[in-house]
C-alpha cells in the first residue's frame, strides 16, 4: 500500500518489475480475477477511492457521472458473484445515483455551494475522511512494533516467579469466565460434542504426566485399589479417551500378557 501514497495509484499487479495500475482495456479478465480484486477492497469507500485514484483524480474534483458508471460496473459484478456482501455497496450506489441526479438538476438562485445537504459535498467529506484513516493505518503499520521490529531485553530472575505480581483470583470468577465462554459458544454452535466428565479429564492429565516421566506404564500402574470401583472406571475411561484422541497407545505382546500404556512421543 506504500505505492498508493506515493503515486496516487494502486498497483493491481507487478509485471516485469513495474507496477501495473490499469487493467489493459483489450484484456479479457475472467470473472474470478475481478472477484479477487473486489475482495481486496475494504468496502464501498475503498473501492470508490481506488476508482478515483486510478485516474489520478483529485477527490474534490471527481466527475460523479463517470465514477458512478465505473462503480456500477463493479457492483454489477459483485452482485453476480457475492450477493451477500453487496448491501454496503448498494447503499453507496444509491448515494452516487442521488449525487448524479442532483448534478443534472438546474440550480435555483437560492442554492449555494455550501449547502449542508449537498450529497456530493457529503460524499467528498466521507472520502477524504476515509482516506485519512486508510493512510493512518498504513503509517501505524510502519511504526516499529514490539516483537516484530524490536525486542525487549530481559533476563531470567529464577526464584522470583512472583515478580509479576500475580493478582488473586476467586474461584467464582473462573466459573463465570467459563460460563461466559459456553454461552458465547452456544450462540455460534454448529453442532454438539460430548465431553468427558471432569474426573476423567483430570485422570487423562495425570496419565499424560506420568507418561512424560516414564514413557511406558502398565495398566496396573494406573489402577490403584484404594480408589475403589469408581476410580477404576475413571482410569479406564481416561485411557479409552486418550487412545481415541491419539494421546497414548495400548500395547500387548501376546494375549494374556501385561498391557502397556505407551506414550506417543
Amino acid at each position: 500500500m506504500i505505492a498508493y501514497v506515493n503515486q496516487g495509484e494502486l498497483a493491481l499487479a507487478t509485471v516485469n518489475g513495474s507496477p501495473l495500475t490499469k487493467i489493459p482495456e483489450n484484456l479479457y479478465i475472467p470473472p474470478d480475477a475481478l472477484e479477487v480484486i473486489l475482495d481486496s477492497f475494504e468496502g464501498p469507500l475503498d473501492l470508490l477511492l481506488y476508482l478515483i485514484r486510478r485516474q489520478n483524480l483529485d477527490i474534490i474534483r471527481i466527475d460523479v457521472s463517470e465514477i458512478t458508471r465505473q462503480y456500477m460496473a463493479y457492483i454489477d459484478l459483485l452482485d453476480i458473484v457475492r450477493f451477500e456482501l453487496a448491501a454496503e455497496y448498494l447503499v453507496m450506489a444509491a448515494i452516487l445515483a442521488e449525487v448524479k441526479s442532483r448534478a443534472l438538476l438546474p440550480r435555483g438562485p437560492g442554492d449555494n455551494d455550501e449547502d449542508e445537504n449537498d450529497p456530493r459535498a457529503e460524499l467528498i467529506r466521507r472520502l477524504l475522511e476515509y482516506e485519512k484513516i486508510k493512510v493512518s493505518a498504513e503509517l501505524l503499520d510502519k511504526l516499529p512494533r514490539l516483537d516484530r521490529d524490536f525486542q525487549i531485553a530481559s533476563a531470567e530472575a529464577p526464584g522470583i516467579n512472583e515478580f509479576l505480581c500475580a493478582p488473586e483470583v476467586d474461584l467464582s470468577e473462573l466459573v463465570i469466565a467459563f460460563g461466559d465462554l459456553l454461552a458465547r459458544v452456544k450462540l455460534s454452535s454448529a453442532h454438539q460434542i460430548e465431553w468427558e466428565p471432569l474426573s476423567t479429564r483430570q485422570r487423562m492429565s495425570h496419565v499424560l504426566f506420568l507418561l512424560e516421566e516414564r514413557s511406558e506404564l502398565t495398566l496396573s500402574d494406573l489402577f490403584t485399589s484404594d480408589e475403589g470401583r469408581a476410580g477404576l472406571v475413571v482410569s479406564f475411561l481416561a485411557i479409552l479417551e486418550m487412545v481415541r484422541e491419539g494421546l497414548c497407545a495400548l500395547v500387548q505382546v501376546a494375549p494374556g500378557h501385561q498391557i502397556y500404556v505407551r506414550s506417543m512421543n
Binding site: R126, I133, A137, L143, R145, S154, A155, F163
Partner: protein, 190 residues
C-alpha cells in the same frame, strides 16, 4: 540500601521486569526501606543509560515507563527468531486500530461511519486481547455505545511515550487535499 547501590538495583529490576517500570514501581522495589526520590532515580537511570552506550541493549522510555530494549541495528540477526507469530494484521484490523488511536474515544458506530463497513467483532476482541484498546466509557446517546481508546500497552508496543508521537499524514500527502482536514484531533474531544 544493604550496600547495593541504586543503579545496580534498577538495572536488575529493569531486566527482570516483563513490562516497563515507571518511577512509582521503581520506588516500590525498596519496600519499607526509605525509598529513593524521583531525582535520585532519574540520575541513576541516566547513568545506567550511559553505561550501556556501545552495548547491544539500550534503556528507553515509553509510555509505561523505562525498559531495556535490544538495539535496532540487530534487527536483521533477530528476525529469524522473532516472537511475534501474528505480526501481520489485516487492513481491516489496522484501520480499526487507526480509527481508535487517532479519534479516541470513539464508538463502534463512529468507526463504521468512517470506514463505510461494519466493524468485525473478532477484530475488536483481538485488539482488546492484545491489550491495545479498551472500553473507557459509554457515550451518552441512545444505546449508550462503548467508547474505545488505546491503552498504555499500545503506546509501549509501538514504542511511543504519548499519543502525540502518532505519525501525522500531513507530511506524506502533499497538496491534493485541504490542509486543515488533516489536522487530527487526538486526545479527548468530541
Amino acid at each position: 540500601m544493604d550496600g547495593l547501590n541504586l543503579k545496580y538495583i534498577l538495572e536488575g529490576a529493569l531486566f527482570a521486569a516483563r513490562e516497563p517500570l515507571n518511577i512509582l514501581k521503581m520506588k516500590t522495589l525498596f519496600g519499607d526501606q526509605k525509598s529513593p526520590t524521583e531525582g535520585m532515580l532519574r540520575d541513576a537511570l541516566k547513568s545506567l543509560n550511559e553505561d550501556y552506550e556501545g552495548h547491544a541493549v539500550r534503556l528507553v522510555e515509553v509510555a509505561g515507563g523505562f525498559r531495556f530494549q535490544v538495539s535496532d541495528d540487530l534487527r536483521p540477526y533477530l528476525a529469524n527468531s522473532s516472537h511475534d507469530s501474528a505480526g501481520k494484521y489485516s487492513r481491516a484490523t489496522l484501520e480499526t486500530l487507526a480509527m481508535i488511536a487517532y479519534r479516541q474515544p470513539v464508538t463502534r458506530g463512529e468507526i463504521e461511519a468512517v470506514r463505510g463497513v461494519a466493524v468485525n467483532t473478532q477484530i475488536v476482541r483481538m485488539l482488546e486481547e492484545r491489550e491495545w484498546i479498551r472500553v473507557v466509557g459509554r457515550k451518552e446517546v441512545p444505546g449508550r455505545p462503548a467508547l474505545f481508546a488505546t491503552t498504555t500497552k499500545f503506546l509501549d508496543d509501538f514504542g511511543m511515550k504519548t499519543l502525540d508521537e502518532l505519525p501525522l499524514i500531513d507530511s506524506l500527502i502533499p497538496v491534493a487535499v485541504n490542509k486543515d482536514l488533516f489536522n487530527y484531533e487526538t486526545a479527548n474531544h468530541e
